[in-house]
Point group: C2
Chain length 320, copies 2
């Protein structure tokens, strides 16, 4: 916000780059499965005051691909109207259809978001780097705004269509001011290192896609992590981000892994929503959109019992 | 068309069921990558007059997942305005987001289309049959129109999310009048037989997803095929559909396979577009949307040479 007019160079290049812990913010739904902007904004505020440097709204964990383009636009406008700072937002904008990706990206840029996290088009499989380059090139050209800052979203286990080093190289050569980094959700620490070794010196920020890889990622020169469990455990993840050079780092990593291990015993998105629902005393938070399903009560009770035993808490969440 | 009001039972149940050869109609684009409704309608007319019983517009081959919902709506309206009969149309309507799938499906039903061909939501992988059942159930309930006729689109090589026999069973039990059949693009003749053995006696029509399986599918009780190469070779494929019981059937199948084999030497969608471009003397037909790419000139020249040698023709295509 406040950068919509032709402004001096610094402003024209957008807000400061995000580093640290970003949460792909869970999207709350009403009983009719409509997204609820009020509860979303409240969760965003909790995240920003408990360790999140930024909010990767409309990510995989946000069930964003189960939202229409219009729903995402309305939610983004509602968050901004509610006072969530645009400079802390990195909305997901990558759709199967180029016009949708352009529309969501252009809105994010107009509103002054810190960047966009963009999936490649993911319906057609086995597509070439030529075709993916052309997708991103059309996006950059059509948005046509020098404030645009694209983070490439590499999540082959879900999208099945990935971002290769050769593709990053071509994009950085063509659009060095625009291609700002990557979220690497490959689950492959070797891939993160390759991306950092090849492109880390060229203003290309790599976020690991899970806090399991946070310490390794920081040691390799990473910018932080964008992680599902950032929705429930942001302060502890942020502490490792800030203290990764300390002698405590290995222990902090092990503690993060232990919490994540408990959540990963159940389907992740439904599990995280059950945790927010429990700690916020708001059972409606459990609702997911199809094709996902809520946890069974046995799954939910098992998860909450595990977390109690581990003395896990989400302070301040129930107070709103 | 003409069935938008509360009508007598026969009309309320929609137009006659489609059987035979359906083409997932290629979508022509202009130089700016905008879809071209005029050339699309012309191609639809050619298909209907050269062997296609119906038009599965907005399928995989149509690059429909590279079109926005609004673009698909505009194209459907343009086809109907251009005189393409709704009763011959089976538009693809399955998107990742339920509101999009509902919107496209509701439009098709309001306009009197013969049915809709619906992908499961395909972003999230490893989802449960419970979640997929809930997706289709929400679709049926939200559209809420007894003219709705859903053909389930099973294409695991691309969507990665498939339709299991157990899911079909549940859907048929819940919505016997609505769940009309399947396009089986698994490439697995055993799966087609399973679906026909289990559900063929219950008004569940199975179309194979390639003419390679047409003869086997018809012998197992299938309803025809919905096939990419129906865009270029519809008359010959329709001949096998009509004559599958004749002594010539094996030879006709072999001839179809030979033509398909030539096209499959190159990327299929770009290859089919190159064929239409060549036979219609309209090079603009070659254009594909990213993430697909056009054939190289070497690929194109090789394909056209192969087809000339095989004496392949598309009569009447250049005449418009």
């Amino acid at each position: 916000m406040g950068q919509e007019t032709d402004a001096p160079r610094a402003a024209a290049e957008g807000p400061p780059r995000l580093r640290g812990v970003l949460a792909p913010v869970l999207t709350p739904f009403g009983p009719d499965l409509a997204p609820d902007p009020r509860r979303l904004a409240a969760h965003c505020r909790w995240l920003l005051s408990h360790g999140c440097a930024g909010l990767a709204v409309f990510g995989t964990t946000s069930e964003a691909n189960s939202l229409s383009v219009g729903e995402r636009e309305e939610l983004l406008e509602a968050l901004l109207a509610d006072g969530i700072p645009a400079g802390r937002l990195m909305p997901g904008t990558g759709c199967c259809a180029l016009p949708d990706t352009v529309r969501l990206t252009a809105l994010a840029v107009r509103r002054g978001c810190a960047g966009v996290l963009t999936l490649p088009p993911f319906y057609y499989k086995g597509v070439s780097d030529d075709g993916l380059f052309r997708s991103f090139a059309e996006l950059v050209e059509r948005v046509g705004d020098r404030r645009l800052r694209v983070y490439l979203y590499h999540i082959p286990p879900v999208a099945q269509v990935g971002i290769s080093p050769a593709l990053v190289e071509r994009l950085l050569l063509a659009y060095p001011r625009v291609i700002a980094g990557m979220k690497d959700s490959s689950g492959d620490a070797g891939n993160t290192r390759t991306m950092l070794d090849l492109f880390g010196g060229r203003g290309f920020d790599v976020f690991v896609g899970s806090e399991r890889f946070l310490l390794a990622g920081m040691r390799a020169g990473g910018a932080g992590c964008i992680t599902a469990t950032g929705n429930v455990n942001p302060a502890a993840i942020d502490r490792l981000f800030r203290e990764w050079r300390s002698p405590e780092a290995e222990r902090l990593q092990a503690e993060l892994d232990a919490v994540r291990g408990l959540v990963e015993k159940v389907p992740l998105i439904a599990g995280l929503k059950a945790m927010v629902a429990h700690h916020a005393s708001d059972p409606g938070w459990r609702t997911v959109r199809p094709p996902l399903v809520e946890l069974t009560s046995a799954q939910r009770e098992g998860l909450l019992a595990d977390l109690r035993q581990a003395r896990f808490a989400m302070p301040g969440l129930g107070g709103r």
